[in-house]
Every structure is written in C-alpha cells, then in structure tokens.
Amino acid sequence: MPKMTGAQAVLECLKREGVDVVFGLPGGVLLPLYDALYHSDIRHILVRHEQGAAHMADGFARATGKVGVCIATSGPGATNLVTGIATAYMDSVPLVAITGQVNTFLIGKDAFQEADITGITLPITKHSYLLKSARDIPRVFREAFYIARSGRPGPVLIDLPRDVTVEEMEFSWPEVHLPGYQPSTKPHEMQTKKAAKVLMGAERPVIYVGGGVKYADAHRELFDLAMKLNAPVTTTLMGVGCFPEDHPLSLGMLGMHGTKYANYAIQESDVLLAVGARFDDRVTGKIASFAPLAKIIHIDVDPAEIGKNVRVDIPVVGDAKKALAAFLKETEAKPRSAWNEKIDSWKRDYPLRYVPDMNIIKPQFVIEKLCELAPDAIITTEVGQNQMWAAQFFVHKDPRKFISSGGLGTMGYGFPAAIGAKMGMPDCEVIDIAGDGSFLMNSQELATAVVNDIPVKVAILNNGCLGMVRQWQELFFDKRYSATILGRTSPDFVKLAEAYGAVGLRATKPVEVEPVIKAALASDKPTVMDFIINPLEMVSPMVPAGATLGEILELEWCEACDSSFFEGLPARGQILDQEEIS
C-alpha cells in the first residue's frame, strides 16, 4: 500500500469493514477526515444533532445486523453522542462511534472543544480507544469492528485526535489479536444435554426469548424447537418478532405490560428456557417470586448475565443459534398437552383488548390499522405508551422489524432510528410510532430525512401529555399530573413537517385514520401523521411496580377521570364535540 494520511487510513478501514454509509456531523478537528470523505464513495448522512447520528447508526445496525457507524467532532459533538451510545450499550447493538479529539499535544490542557470522551463513555461502551498515532489506525479499527459485532455485541468508541488524522503512515491490515477477548460461542455439550433432558421432562415448559435470539439469527432454530416440543414462547421487548405472534404457540410479550397469559404461563411453568434474555426488572416483576415453580435453563453468550439477577439451574454459555441447534438434536417431538390447552384457554379468556370508540381515536386502533395496511413494515418506536401499544397491538413476525430502545428507554430514539433503518433497508416501509412528547426530542432530523430523501413515516399518537408518566400519576399519585401535561405547548405537527419540506397529515376522528395511513404509505416523502388520540387512554394490562407477574391488572379506562386537564389541546376540543360522526 502507498503512504496515506491517518484520515485516508480511517476511510480505507471503513471500506474494508464493508461500511457504505456513516452518520455524522463535522467540526473543527474533523476537517481532515471530512476532507478525505469528500473524495470517498462512502455515503455520509449529515445529521442535525449528533444524538441523531448515534441513533441512526443504531437503527441501521438493528435493521441490518451490520455494524453501524457514527461520527461526531470533539467536545460537544462527542458528548451529544452519549445518549445514543448508552442506548446501544443497554440493548447490545453493534456500533462504532468515531469522535474527533483535539491534537495529542493539547490533550489535558482544556483546549477548545476538548472533552475526555473515552472517560465519559467508559461505563457505556464495550471497549474504547484513544488513538495516539496514525500507525495504530488499521489495528484499532479492525479490533473495534470485531469487538462491536462478536460475542455479545455492543458499542465501541474510537477517539481520533486531529494530528493523528494528518500524520502520514503506511497502511497494512493486521489480523485481530486480542488475548483478553475470546468470546465463547460454542455451548458446552454436557450442559446442552442436561438442559435438553430437563426440557424433555417438562410438563409446563415456557420459552422466554430476548434480543439475543435476534442478534444470533436464531429465530428459525427457536421456531423449530418450540414446534417440536409444543412449547409456548414469550418474548421480551427486545425479543419482539423473534417468534411469529400470530402463531398458536405465541404468548406475545411478557412483563410489566405483557399479556396476562404470558405472565400466568411464566408463573405456572415448571421449566423456563431463557434464550438471550437477561431477566430485566421490567420483565420479572418482583424477582423473589418470578417463575417460582420453574427450573431455569439460561442460554446466553455473555457468562456475566447468568446468575446476575436470578438463580439459574442449568447455565448454557454460548451462541443462541448453536445452543438451540444442539437442543434440537437432543430432544424428541412432544405432543400437545394439557398445558397447551390451559394456555389456549387463558388466551381466550384474557386477550389484549381495549374499548373501541366511534368518536375518539384510540391509539390501539391506530396501531391495528397500521398493521393491517403495512404488515411488513419495520416499526421503530419512541418510549412510553406509544412503545408499549406498538409492541402489543402490531402483530410482529420478523425479528429485525421491531426496533425500540428497551434497556435505556430513550425518548427521541425512534425517529432517527427509523432513518437509519431505512438507509439499511431502503425497500422496506419504515414507520416510527411516536408520542408527541418523544417525537420533539429529535424532530430536527426531519431536515436530515428531507435533504437526503429518506422517506420514513412517523405516526404520532398525540395525547397532549407525557402519557406513561401521566398514567403512573393517575394510578399511584392520586392524579396529580405534575409536569406531564404538554397541551398547547406542543407545536402543530402538520405545520412542523411542512416547515421542513416533509408531508404532514392529521386525523382527529377514527374514520380519518385509515385514509391518513393510506396517504402516508403512498407518499414518497418523509411523512408525519398526527393522530389526535384519547388523552385518557392507559396501557393495559399492567404489573404494578414491585408486584409479581401473577398480579397483573387490567386497568379501568377511567372514563370518570377529570378531563378538564386536557381541554384546549389542539383539535381535541373538536373531537370531544363530535357526537354526530357515528
């Protein structure tokens, strides 16, 4: 290879790692890198806020399975990535974040736009590097991509001082040599045999599936195993889509806003097979009484997850795909049992449901319509009620088509993530299901979507409040709606979309929902749908904090709730008078 600058070497590394799109925003110390990028065929998506870049890279990675790449300049650029990096870390998303840094001789001198970003991101990265010499660029980039995507995936940060990018170097592409990092992917045979035996002996098995199945691309093995054993399958929020939800063995989602039948099944199971899931507190409820009768088998590629939150009877450390394939070999087909009958009766008795309304738009109705009209769309979500309704009422069938910030719960994630997903899967319809609160947290990326012609769709479930927090205030804080009513302070989302050159559509009555969705799906521009929904709607069912999964409640619809808080919301006054629609 000829001599090149550090900046050129960075781009050469990206190319060798198969990167064709990066998300970023330049700055002073990144001038040499962006100058090299000017001559490169790597596509750069210019964002309007670096947080957007991190979420776009994250959405791209989740939709495609590839490593997402984001770039930000030193100091504030780098710190703006932090929420995005933390989001990716909590959900094990492969990400490489490249940050500019001040010249090496200025580091530690409180130089202009200097921030110790490796220090700041230490607890939210899988690994990080501060480059000191252009010579190290190929090794560091190769290691970073390898670490980001292998084992339990995660974000890796590379801090790139300005002088390193202009330094000349001779490019060579070294093999990865990381003596301290050898992720174990092949499960131990003794453990898989033991686990298979326990599964075969189970009378009331449940398979509990997390995001690990998606990342290991193990959904086919999961499907085959569930079918073979006639074992019902429930997924976490991260696992949504890993098992087709229209299948009779599907229990949908479990946990705080899971289905009643999933939670009942967990509590009565005698063998619980956890695959690539981490027993998060939103899943387990009161941990001491989680799955009290069950022997727990836990498959995870990260040994530190095993035994972290619950005691595990049979740990299986390894890749979910390999472990499930081994289980398939070790087990024999089991017929349907009384357990399947019991689950079917729970499913009949306690379906997910809501009270339909002819006059006011119910959020669940919007999701159902989206699912009906765009069943194969990639759905991203913001965080809160919109996220839970999207998980509950869209029928998910594909592991990489539900994209949501689960662990960190980042509001403002869904819209940029949708842009990233659309960049990765341009032939797929991508819809961000949003709330009026969370959409505003990164709505500036409308400019990114419009300028780069990325026709994502946004469905805002506009209830004029920070709905999930308001729901908790309603239930547990005696309806003291402290700082959760947005009301008139929100902008007109149709005008907002139009101001950016995007399309804005609004539905204020149930009959308008379908035409609005159809118009949005027909649009070849970024399109924002503003659905003025019932502000009082709550996410149901619900396991109250600290309760066991068995204590799941179906919430009343609190029609009696004092609606005066919501008066004067945009267009909502109209709906409340719409008696004549029916």
């Binding site: 490796t118 220090g119 230490l122 607890p123 899988k126 690994h127 501060l130 670490i147 990381l178 003596p179 301290g180 990092y181 990260d302 040994p303 530190a304 035994g307 972290k308």
Partner: protein, 163 residues
Amino acid sequence: MKHTIAVIVENKSGVLTRIAGLFSRRAFNIDSLSVGATDNPDYSRMTLTVMGGEEVLEQVIKQLSKLINVIRVSELNPAESVERELAIIKVNADRENRSEIMQVVDIFRAKIIDVSARSMIIEITGDEEKINAIVQLLRQYGIKEMARTGKVSMARGLKSTQP
C-alpha cells in the same frame, strides 16, 4: 466475606480506570488494590481484595473477565496461597523510647530504614494481620504517617494465574 482476586491485565493506559470504573458502576466493594509489573512487559498484575458473598464474587470475576484488556482472573483461596503486604511507618521516636521501639521491630522481624532525632521509619512485610498487629503496638508512640501497599498474593505450588 473477603476474597482475594489476582488479575492479569494488558499493560496499557486506562486499564486501571476501567477496573476502578467497573467496581463503582456495579457497586462492588473494593477493599484493597495493588498493581505492578510481571516478568512479561506486556502484562501487569493486580491483586484485589473484595468484600461480598459468593454471588458478588462470581459477578466480580465475570465482569472483570469481560473487559477486553483483562487477560485472566482467578480467585486465590487463602489456604492455598501466600500473601504479603508491605508497610512503611513513621513513628515518633526520641532518646527515651528509641530502644523500646527497636525491640518491637525486632520481635516482628521488621526493619528500621530511617532515623532522625525525633522519628524513625519502620519497614515491615507480612500478611495483613501481622501488619495490623505492629501498627497497633506502634500507636502508643504516635504514628506520624503510614503507607501500605495493599496485598499481593500468589497460589502455592505449580498453579499459575499468569498465562
């Protein structure tokens, strides 16, 4: 319950921060930590003393092992390992009590490494209890300052933490 853990790490900048950061983030209690070179210039060795039950110990070991720069982690069972700590202690010592202090030093097989008209520096190595014992005795003369290294530990016999 106290556990001793030996950690072989890559000799790179930031490794100590990663380990200290891990302990604070995961709310593990670190009792003592010592770092130093090994015979391999690429690796350093840390000895950590950690408080907590078996589950905590298991998590500490697993989480440490996840760090990319950590090469190997092993728990050292006190019954099957040797452990030493070094302390240097400056005590008030004048003409009247100097010989008395020297007797204490003798009994503990410690060393005097500095003397002035009104002070003395004592060096002692041993396990934690031995050092605690001499510190206790020296207190009556007035300890002006003290520096302890924290424990280093190694398994007895052929068993080795270092790859």
